[in-house]
């Protein structure tokens, strides 16, 4: 008993060390923590909000796509279940608005043609160097995986709590915070190089090469959603989550049943085990 007590005390002391050592201290150049937002696709029962995905897609096409690629998305993906679910004809029509390079043809020449559903999203720049030249020296990253490839560190105790709440939205929280977090003037004492913008959420150190991309009423929503930066950022972040994790709905749907199955199986196995062991005297 005494040793149990002492070991409990050790653990408590350890926990104390952990908490005090991780008390956030925002040093210069460190980025702000993005606040958690509400997302329809969070948690075990989360689903994408189809209208939101379509709005986000619209923002992406009209604003982001001029600089950011979407190379892991093919036009056919826009019609797949658990996503934007455009009809076959709509997908064809969207694809036809873009041109892709094909070839070589019978004369050995490369040629351009309208995209088909099977084609992947065409890149905005020929290569990264061209992209960097056009964007303050930094090539805009491909947007297909950004929602999973960016996240501010959650820190203690959030990272422990996240295990129980199945928090997987640090990436979209970050994207939303970044898009809405631009400040016109850097705080005093912070120097920002020419062409860069000040953004306290930016993980790469507050000076970001992307100029503020969104403005109120920059995109005309058809469903009556208010045309604000806030909505644009939220919608495009959700769209980017879908682009990074297009099978999320299928995964969670199967997951709930798999979990239930295992829970019932486990309970039954326990009862069998108990019954078998009742025979044993000890």
């Amino acid at each position: 008993m005494t040793s149990k007590l002492i070991s409990a005390a050790t653990c408590a002391a350890l926990a104390l060390v952990l908490t005090t050592a991780t008390t956030p201290a925002k040093a210069a150049g460190e980025s702000l923590k993005p606040p958690s937002q509400y997302w329809s696709f969070s948690g075990p029962f989360g689903r994408y909000d189809q209208a939101q995905l379509r709005r986000g897609f619209q923002v992406f096409r009209e604003v982001c796509a001029s600089c950011h690629g979407l190379k892991y998305i093919a036009f056919r993906n826009l019609g797949e279940p658990g996503g934007l679910e455009f009809t076959e004809d709509e997908v064809k029509a969207i694809a036809a608005e873009y041109t892709v390079q094909d070839g070589p043809n019978a004369d050995g020449e490369m040629f351009e043609r309208p995209a088909k559903p099977a084609d992947r999203w065409p890149p905005p720049f020929e290569n990264d160097v061209v992209g960097a030249l056009a964007n303050n020296g930094v090539a805009p990253p491909d947007a297909s995986l950004l929602a999973k490839a960016r996240a501010a560190e959650r820190g203690f105790p959030s990272f422990v709590i996240d295990m129980f709440t199945t928090h997987q939205e640090a990436g979209v929280d970050y994207i939303y915070a970044l898009l809405t977090g631009y400040e016109d003037e850097p705080p005093e004492g912070v120097e920002i190089a020419d062409g860069l913008s000040y953004n306290p959420y930016f993980l790469g150190g507050n000076a970001i090469a992307m100029v503020p991309p969104l403005f109120d009423e920059a995109v005309e929503y058809e469903d009556g959603t208010a045309p604000t930066i806030d909505n644009y950022a939220r919608d495009v972040a959700a769209f980017m989550m879908w682009a990074a994790e297009p099978k999320l709905e299928q995964r969670k749907f199967i997951g709930v049943w798999a979990f239930l199955y295992l829970a019932i199986l486990g309970a039954l196995l326990y009862l069998i085990k108990k019954k078998i062991w009742r025979r044993v005297g000890h």
Binding site: T2, L14, G281
Partner: protein
């Protein structure tokens, strides 16, 4: 072990096969009638969990290999191809990635169980060695596998870890070039890691076979740490151990599913969704969680070679464990002081794991140095000294005796509780008869509040002489022993039917 009668096949075809390849009797003798100590608790089920995880990793890995492209310019894209275009590719890939984590989780639980119950002690040293060899092989497999997606963390983890070998005096640089197949991590490195990642699991499977073989020669340890003396103290492996194991496997898979389906990227690092870029070093290079304690030890030592040596030594020291802990009492259940240090070691390992995820600067380095020194001190100083200073409790004669003591205690406790109830009821009745102002019911309630008094009196009044005083002096820690020795191992507190 333990005079088990060999199985004789009953059908003619069974007998025919038995003469040519005795595989039926092998399976029956080793996995059905194999005698298992009765008192095994739930910590003994992780061997089966590990077997299941190994099979899951093998199957998902084989399927992934059908769709993956081991080439520096195509590996990352092929992973996305699996995630998006292959039927249920996301499921297979997430299962494999998270499966590695849960494989290690089960392995760590399995190993700490050995540490607590002294399962590495004679005659199980060779069994323990092969366990440590499996750990080493699994670490190599985990590391080579993590490189394959060719994300930023893959690339830089490969760079950091292969560079460790440059610390070897004289030939270090040549060895690194030989390992990498070039001057930096590149396509040749990826392809050879892929080859090794496919080879090593076969070696793990072979080591597991030897591990199980060694286990079946010496038999399972058990929470009392006392060898079973007769078949009465054992149960056949099937259905008793198998059923318990399968139940735990289901619970473990439940936990696995929680991560796999609802937070498959929780245990990974976001940077690994950025394609490898040799020109851009991530701000913090962090390994997977199961390597963090070792990574902390590596960085705690200010000297590069020293760090590498310390990291490898932290595992190699485990090979010497059977002799470093020379106490003849096997189970931590009977060693109060050992038990205390065991939990400090667990806390130390968790602390090291947390430090491994922190940048190697400032106070973190100092804590890591302290924790590293403590880790080695536990094995090299504390354990040998505990052999001298630990005052183990009196061991029961046998497993049966240990269980019997537990039964007696339970019976005595039940009797005492019954006695108390009777006394209190009588007391209340007496007072009611005496015509107290309070009603009998209220008196009973008041008595409840003043419970300690009758409890203290009861044993003197009702217990057989001799039985209780001895138990009373051993008090609380004894209760704990019973708990470990009996309750967890027995049928989860099922009522006893022994005559």
């Amino acid at each position: 072990m333990l005079g088990q009668t060999p199985y004789q096949p009953k059908t003619w075809i069974g007998r025919w096969l038995e003469k040519r390849l005795p595989v039926i009797s092998l399976v029956v003798d080793q996995f059905v009638s194999f005698p298992t100590p009765k008192t095994l608790n739930y910590w003994w089920t992780f061997g089966m969990v590990l077997s299941v995880m190994l099979i899951i990793q093998l199957i998902t890995g084989i399927v992934l290999a059908m769709h993956y492209t081991p080439h520096a310019s195509m590996a990352f894209d092929s992973i996305e191809h699996i995630m998006r275009d292959v039927q249920y590719g996301w499921l297979i890939r997430y299962m494999h990635a998270n499966g590695a984590s849960f494989f290690f989780l089960a392995l760590f639980i399995h190993m700490f169980r050995c540490l607590y119950y002294g399962s590495y002690k004679a005659p199980r040293e060779v069994l323990w060695w092969f366990g440590v060899l499996i750990l080493l092989t699994m670490m190599t497999t985990g590391f080579t596998g993590y490189v394959l997606p060719w994300g930023q963390m893959s690339y830089w983890a490969a760079t950091v870890i292969t560079n460790l070998f440059s610390a070897i005096p004289e030939y270090g640089d040549e060895i690194v070039i030989w390992l990498l197949g070039g001057y930096s991590v590149d396509n040749p490195t990826l392809v050879r890691f892929y080859s090794l990642h496919y080879l090593l699991p076969m070696i793990i499977a072979a080591l597991v076979a030897i591990h199980v073989w060694a286990l079946h020669v010496v038999g399972s340890n058990n929470p009392t740490g006392i060898e079973p003396k007769s078949l009465d103290e054992t149960v056949p492996f099937t259905p008793y151990a198998t059923m318990k194991d399968i139940f735990v496997v289901a619970v473990f898979l439940l936990l696995f599913a929680w991560f796999l389906f609802f937070q498959p990227n929780y245990l990974g690092h976001p940077d690994n969704y950025i394609p490898a870029d040799p020109l851009k070093t991530p701000p913090h290079i962090v390994p997977e969680w199961y390597f963090l304690p070792f990574y902390a030890i590596l960085r705690a030592v200010p000297d590069k070679l020293g760090g590498v040596v310390a990291m490898f030594a932290s595992i190699l020291v485990l090979f010497l464990l059977p002799w470093l802990d020379w106490s003849r009492v096997r189970s931590g259940t009977f060693r109060p002081l050992f038990r205390l240090f065991f939990w400090i070691l667990v806390a130390d390992c968790i602390l090291l794991g947390w430090l491994g995820a922190k940048p190697a600067e400032g106070i973190y380095v100092e804590i890591a140095q302290f924790a590293t020194i403590y880790y080695f001190a536990h094995f090299l100083l504390v354990l040998p000294l505990l052999g001298l200073f630990d005052r183990p409790k009196r061991l029961p004669e046998s497993i049966t005796a240990a269980v019997a003591t537990l039964d007696e205690k339970k019976a005595a406790a039940a009797e005492q509780a019954a006695l108390e109830r009777v006394m209190r009821a009588q007391d209340a009745e007496d007072r009611a008869k005496a015509g107290d102002t309070a009603t009998a019911e209220e008196t009973a309630k008041a008595d409840d509040a003043a419970k300690p008094e009758p409890a203290a009196e009861a044993p003197a009044a009702g217990e057989p002489p001799g039985a209780e005083p001895a138990a009373a002096t051993e008090d609380a820690s004894d209760v704990q022993r019973e708990k470990a020795a009996g309750e967890r191992g027995s049928a989860a507190g099922a009522p006893d039917k022994k005559d």
